[in-house]
Point group: C2
Chain length 215, copies 2
Amino acid sequence: MKKALVIFSGGQDSTTCLFWALEKFDYVEAVTFDYGQRHKAEIECAVAIAKDLGVKHHILDMSLLSQLAPNSLTRNDIAVDEKIPDGASVPNSYVEGRNMLFLTFAAVLAKVNGINNLVTGVCETDFSGYPDCRDMFIKSLNVTLNLAMDYNFVIHTPLMWLTKAQTWEMADKMGKLEYVRENTLTCYNGIKGDGCGHCPACTLRRNGLKEYLGS
Amino acid sequence: MKKALVIFSGGQDSTTCLFWALEKFDYVEAVTFDYGQRHKAEIECAVAIAKDLGVKHHILDMSLLSQLAPNSLTRNDIAVDEKIPDGASVPNSYVEGRNMLFLTFAAVLAKVNGINNLVTGVCETDFSGYPDCRDMFIKSLNVTLNLAMDYNFVIHTPLMWLTKAQTWEMADKMGKLEYVRENTLTCYNGIKGDGCGHCPACTLRRNGLKEYLGS
């Protein structure tokens, strides 16, 4: 039986990956990382979708990442405030290499559950610019994980080279465009579906949808 | 200025690495991972040595690793007990890939502090048998970390191919044999220095010292 674990945030990309995995594998689980997201609505969204699709859902507490955030370190181990100050655009728990840490935690979780396929919605084409979302990094990490745990992990990145319009197309071909549009949360202001309409994430998502729908 | 961060447990191996780093680099910091060790004495030992040597010392809380321990996962997300049951030989927070997670956390910490050299006392020669202590893994991880963070990390493993006797020899050549013997803690029963004398860690350590001293 082919089993997969999907790294799942409840956003458009990872939800599309979850549908992709459900088509491709015999058995699918999902994992969400709780690291003090801007909006608890993101986690709630992920929980609701996993429940809706009947997928076993792990939520891992990553609050200790805040220990590594530059603004807590540079203040020399003061108490870390996980709350986001009004108007701040990035949680103070952001750390470099975060995606690598998440994927490594996911790999440990997968192996414990007898799962060797990992699915992540990382993408070189979008505007994130994080080095640990690049294809070359993912391939190197795959080798490192296999050496670290003597296990045959395969990391799948179905969105790696897609534009946002092509990600919408992928959801549509699986008959899930409306589901993804209505039930996922990408918006920086924590609004599900089409979102606030003006933050960068909403703009990217809407422009992709417009491009795909040809309007 | 050449800077290094030493992964430091307060045991024989990592303390020898700390002395090695202090000889080789212009500036050295140390990091210890608090993951529910059998004995708080291990952390106290690390703190005392770092203070004694005037090395800036980071202690990172890794309690979330317990979420990944098989015995907490298989019981389906029950509350995790970080205390070690009487007579248990392995903390229930042990997880595969742990060394990979520690080194990755250390790398993030190092970069935030402008440090690109990482020093770890992992060793293929001793009896740990953990795949994420092997030389091939460390080299693969080095590449992956550099890709993950666009940074020029260099991972140093001065003990990789040494026997325990050769590690004692290395400490002796730096004039630190007595210091390491008296101030480090390796013993499974939490006793500093020569330890309880009969656990596997004490046996390995004592046999290495006997072999080096030629007695």
